[in-house]
Homo-oligomer: 125 residues x 2
Amino acid sequence: MTREWTVFSAQCPSRQSLARIANKWTAMIIILLHEQPLRFGELHRGADGITKKVLADTLRALERDGMIDHATHSDGHGRYELTELGRTLHEPLRALQVWAESHVEDVLDAQDRYDTAADEQTLGH
Amino acid sequence: MTREWTVFSAQCPSRQSLARIANKWTAMIIILLHEQPLRFGELHRGADGITKKVLADTLRALERDGMIDHATHSDGHGRYELTELGRTLHEPLRALQVWAESHVEDVLDAQDRYDTAADEQTLGH
DNA sequence: AGGCGCGGTTACTTCAACGTCACCGCCCAG
DNA sequence: CTGGGCGGTGACGTTGAAGTAACCGCGCCT
């Protein structure tokens, strides 16, 4: 079972799920919310570079997909928090963050090599 | 060390890395190439719905970032294959695929609940 | 020689995502 | 009752990513 679904087929709903979770903002939001429930402004400050609109849109999409929810907390403020489903997403997404941060130098080096190789091409051997 | 880099800062190069790897086409290509080196057309058929242009662009970006490379094989045909760096990416991305495929029903149910709740709003209590 | 499939590239278009900015109601402090 | 911060929403414009389709050289088959 479950192998009735495959992300390799464009029409399979699992493809849409993959597209939603394989996304930098999704990853950052889920990782931030794993620590604790957060308010809109806290997320806005936490995910540097995101605009209010994109944050609002992303939060609504994640809420629709059942990964987070939005409830008024004991102090009277609304907060976003992971659902049970959202919590299962933390580990895989966290792994992406760790990968990205720990392989920066490798990637930067590879880009350098690629770009200078391309330059040498253009400048004739 | 390595915590000089953080994906939460917009200017940090690790953010660009995260954006590249947290991407459905990247994930699908890395997963397909994990089995074995593949030719352009094989990838094109393997990742249903991708166009030649997007595939070519994505492959060039991954090559530049040092995750794959492109070499002429023993049979005279070019093939794309994972580099050592690319191989380290397989496990985290594979986890996303597994998540997407195994939680399809949960996500679909959540969407249903969200959408019908929204309908009831619109239709007045 | 002619036609086909492969592995792209190019030019042009389209479309969805994102940015900008103004505005809103609510609550709290002064 | 005014001003500011919070938590958004909406209208609009821009950009960049993706789609479309035509074309290309190469090698293979016939």
